[in-house]
Amino acid sequence: MSIATTHPAEHPAEEYHGGWMRWLTTTNHKDIGTMYMTFALVMFFVGGLMILGVRAELFQPGLQLMKPEFFNQLIGVHALVMIFGALMPAATGFANWMIPLMIGAPDMALPRLNNWGFWLLPPAAILLTLPFTLALFGIGDGALATGWTFYAPLSVQGGMGVDFAILAVHILGISSIMGSINIIVTIFNMRAPGMTMMKLPLFAWGWLITAFLLIATLPVLAGAVTMLLTDRHFGTHFFDAAGGGDPILFQHLFWFFGHPEVYILLLPVWGLIPHVLSTFSRKPTYGHTAQIYSFIAIGVLSVVVWAHHILTSGMPVPALIYFMFSTMAISLPLAVLFFCWIATMWKGAMTFETPMLFAVGFIVLFGIAGLTGLVLADVAADAQYHHSYFVVAHFHYALFAGGIMGVMTGVYYWLPKWTGHMYSEKLGKLHFWLTVLSFNLTFIPQFFLGLAGMPRRIPDYALQFAEFNAISTIGAFILGFSQLLFAWNIWRCVRGGPKVESRVWEGAEGLEWELSSPPPHHSWETQPVIK
């Protein structure tokens, strides 16, 4: 793709509201992207602190630090905070910042909706965590203690933390729907002349599929938790067997959303990884079209495999076989992606700046998530490993190594473009190695714990699991504290540092690198033309 463009002239200073009003009222995609990213970083540390409490309790067998009820609350809210508070907003932040730059648009198509979408997040986060604070003052019995899955009948019987979480999930869902609608209409209607759908950058394609998945599945989650709310307070019996309802129905509804949610978290990352690999291998992306079709295939398959999360719930054998094989089928388009990622690097003039280190680390570690996912998809094997620490380790390889390390890849790749400054490579590389080593120190032992039969979501355990739990806790604390380097590096980069060119990286290709670093207030006033 060749690009003919002119650099937009310097913009006259826009009329800004000062201070907080600027951030409250902004409709600029870059401001909103920055707010999403900042919110995600804060929530990443909030969720991280919660799980460090959990790991501290699990350092030794026996109950040392907290009651089991509080332990359960930390686990459930940790997951919700990390998924809805950290990963999804980070991906939306990337979308806000990068999609208009990549497609040659002056801004998102619906800027006010964009502002709304963001400002729904802080109240939802407060609702999610408020029950912890209220419990300190003797009000209620703490936060949601059901795990992030809200399984009935426990959630029907739970305390008011469940109600707070139900309301928070509704608000978070509305925010995500608004973001998704905006991204879809922006990609469809705001592309520069010549930017056909097949020339659309892979990051935008990944997000387009993500946005459609959100639109298809979030209303189902919202419906399920609304039904839960009416079961709790309005005398319905959707999930109450005593009243003719079915608790398993909730599990199906939840995972109809929950499994696509995994791809919702991962598709934006799969979209950005090829950009990074191509840049630092100094080669065009291998298999651009194949990757687009793989995204579509994964998107379609993701909504028809949900029940592999509940293979042990007593489904008929034909259903088990269907869900096993359909789940395994996802590995085909995913293998295409892995092949394209590796082929992009093949015989390239590779260098290993921090984003490339994270991208390569992502490929290796996310590969482990994929392979252990195949184990769990097998009906017979899953009967042994279901609800064990093997599952915990598997999904952290997917969502930390695949999701959060993918986000870190994107942050290091685009931060100089956003700020106009280069971050510290030394700190970035130190952050990478500490993260990778401590991540494996945390989660490899959990595979063994799961294989040995340790169930998840328990605050106490048999003595035979003590050593692996101690190692995992040490790894978790190193992992947690090494993230302070990430925050410090970002802070330093935002505050200053060596100036960068518009094309920050030598091998970077795409419209976004034609604009200055940082980009002007209105991203594209002159329509770029893609030939």
């Binding site: 619906l110 609608i181 905006n182 879809i184 189902v220 594209w524 033309v529």
Partner: protein, 40 residues
Amino acid sequence: MNQPFTESDLERRRAASRRLGWLLGAIVLAIYLIGMFIKR
């Protein structure tokens, strides 16, 4: 030759976006509500 975005072009694109946005919003609402009318 590159052209600046004209107001009319941007307005046309934004109007199309609003229409599609409302349609997608209606689909979301329909999926949310449809479960209430399905009998087991």
